[in-house]
């Protein structure tokens, strides 16, 4: 199967420090490919390179077989990559609806944004799509609430809604469960949500919650000091001695 997103020989150096060390990684259509690794392994840098937020020193990234190396961040989003941030970066002063409309209008289907007359939150094409996403995320009751008044978990959901709004083929999710805690309102709900998204997008998932990773991911890559030291399904990762040594250490791996 041809991969949706293909990363080959990707390198990022900060001075003498090799933060991304010749990374090869594929995301196939409909799969969740998790990237795990200790803090400072270069996971967020990798996502930022794929998005074009951080320029790469070497290597090539292609989406659906076409190189996107020359594209800027906004162009890559329009080409079909969406991301969520580890540190919630919704627009705090905007309402839920305004945030999602902002994200929806950025999609390639909606042309340029030089429209000066119709209020953005009453533009039918934009609002319908936004409301659909808000409903999907279970935020309908908070539609007209400023993002700053949302709970942390709701902000994380809004973050995902905005990543989906551009109708991406590939989703890059940077610790969607970070800081959510366990239980119905926390990470369990997000796991359930990701399970529903699975199959519809190619997802690159960065996550520290091992229960979530092992239950969701089709494949797992382990990043250690910028290098992919192992790639395979959950069992292969659990069995790998390098992974045990490098990353998991003494930590108990969930069965």
């Amino acid at each position: 199967m041809q991969p949706l997103l293909s990363i080959r020989g990707l390198v990022k150096r900060y001075g003498g420090l090799l933060v991304t060390d010749h990374v090869d990684l594929d995301i196939r259509p409909g799969e969740i490919h998790a990237v795990i690794g200790p803090n400072g392994a270069g996971k967020t840098t990798l996502i930022s390179q794929v998005m074009g937020e951080i320029p790469s020193d070497e290597g090539t990234i292609s989406l659906g077989g076409r190189s996107i190396d020359a594209l800027g961040m906004a162009q890559r989003v329009r080409a079909g990559i969406g991301r969520s941030y580890q540190i919630t970066s919704v627009i705090q002063q905007f309402t839920v609806l305004e945030n999602v409309v902002l994200a929806v209008q950025g999609g390639h289907a909606h042309g340029h944004g030089f429209r000066f007359w119709t209020p953005a939150v009453r533009t039918p094409g934009l609002v319908d799509e936004a409301d659909e996403l808000i409903r999907l995320m279970g935020l309908s009751a908070r539609r007209d609430t400023p993002a700053m008044s949302l709970s942390y978990g709701q902000q994380r959901q809004l973050e995902i809604a905005m990543a989906l709004a551009g109708k991406p083929q590939v989703l890059l999710l940077d610790e969607p469960m970070a800081g959510m805690g366990h239980g119905d309102t926390g990470s369990d709900m997000m796991v359930e949500l990701l399970r529903r998204l699975k199959g519809r997008y190619g997802i690159l998932l960065i996550e520290h919650d091992m229960d979530a990773v092992f239950s969701l991911a089709d494949r797992i890559s382990v990043l250690f000091y910028g290098k992919v030291i192992c790639c395979g399904d959950a069992d292969a990762i659990r069995r790998s001695p390098e992974v045990r040594e490098a990353y998991l250490g003494d930590e108990e791996v969930a069965a």
Binding site: A74, F94, A120, L126
Partner: protein
């Protein structure tokens, strides 16, 4: 459009939205009465002073689009007031006194200057943006000072004001035209701010990376906002030239740019009507204090600092939020 208002229920949304609107309408009615008062009290100075207020209100409303909504702290917007004034003065100097021609010239020249200046300045952020707009404005200031054939640092008197038939040189007509322009700009901005363009502009001022992450490049939106904001300042310059029958380099001094920023902050940056209140407050306070003491700046400075520090969203924020919040 209508359905969303109906769904929200008139009881909930109507008062919150209408209080600032009522306040604005009342403000404009009062301003419209100024020529009447001036005629009855036989005090042309009042009309002159309020015309000045409207000129700077218009410029401040313009700056607010870039500064308040776009987050672009331009320290050079007085340059566009000066450019507007010089367009009138220079055209008139060569005997072209058609008012329509003057207006077209002002708007065209302002756009021709603002587009490249904005493009250069927008390559930077934060303090660098402030400094580069200041530097470019100073360039134009010294250009005006250096143009000896147009009066140099003494400025250029305007013998023939912009010709608009029988209304030419009529102060009350000028005042009402100014008021209409100001009102029109506010109505227009109200739409633009809420539009898709306005949404992107406001989002870019808060988190430009987030805007790029949804697939939109902020630069074009910020540049257009900068040019539109310059146009309103150019228009203010057009009126100022006709009000004073004079174009002076002092119109575009860096202190004038600073005063514009203060007016916006005083009234409330990022509020629609705030800059109007800010301009009026600033100029009236200056007027009163000048009458009391030669050292009026010693009082004016701290007053402004205190207002900006302690009133969230400035004077207008205080006036328009007094009812529904808390």
């Amino acid at each position: 459009m209508d359905t969303s208002i109906a769904q929200a229920g008139p009881g909930r949304r109507f008062p919150a939205a209408s209080w600032p609107v009522c306040l604005t309408v009342a403000l404009f009615l009062l301003l419209a009465l100024v020529p009447v008062y001036s005629a009855l009290a036989d005090s042309p100075y009042v009309l002159l002073q309020f015309s000045r207020i409207l000129v700077f209100a218009l410029a401040a409303v313009g700056l607010n689009l870039a500064l308040g909504y776009g987050g672009l702290v331009s320290f050079g917007h007085a340059m566009y007031i000066g450019i507007g004034a010089y367009c009138v003065a220079v055209a008139s100097h060569y005997g072209a006194d058609s008012g329509v021609l003057h207006l077209v010239l002002v708007l065209a020249v302002t756009a021709l200057v603002a587009a490249p200046v904005g493009l250069v300045a927008l390559r930077t952020r934060g303090i660098a943006f402030i400094m580069i707009t200041l530097a470019l404005a100073q360039m134009f200031y010294f250009l005006a000072v250096g143009l000896k054939q147009y009066g140099g640092d003494e400025g250029l008197p305007i013998r023939q004001l912009s010709h608009f038939g029988a209304l030419t040189g009529n102060h009350a007509a000028l005042y009402l035209a100014l008021l209409a322009c100001l009102g029109g700009s506010l109505l227009l901005l109200r739409r633009v701010i809420a539009s898709r363009f306005g949404l992107i502009l406001r989002a870019s001022s808060m988190d430009a990376r987030r805007v790029r992450a949804v697939g939109t490049t902020p630069l074009g939106y910020q540049l257009l906002a900068y040019v539109l904001s310059a146009e309103l300042c150019g228009l203010a310059g057009f009126f100022l030239a006709n009000l004073t029958a004079f174009a002076s380099p002092a119109y575009m001094a860096w202190t004038a740019s600073g005063e514009l920023i203060i007016m916006v902050l005083l009234g409330g940056a990022g509020t629609l009507v705030g800059p109007v209140v800010g301009a009026a407050g600033f100029l009236l306070l200056e007027d009163v204090l000048k009458g009391l003491t030669d050292h009026w700046m010693i009082v004016m400075g701290p007053v402004i600092v205190l207002i900006v520090l302690f009133l969230r969203n400035g004077l207008w924020g205080m006036m328009s939020h007094s009812r529904e919040d808390h």
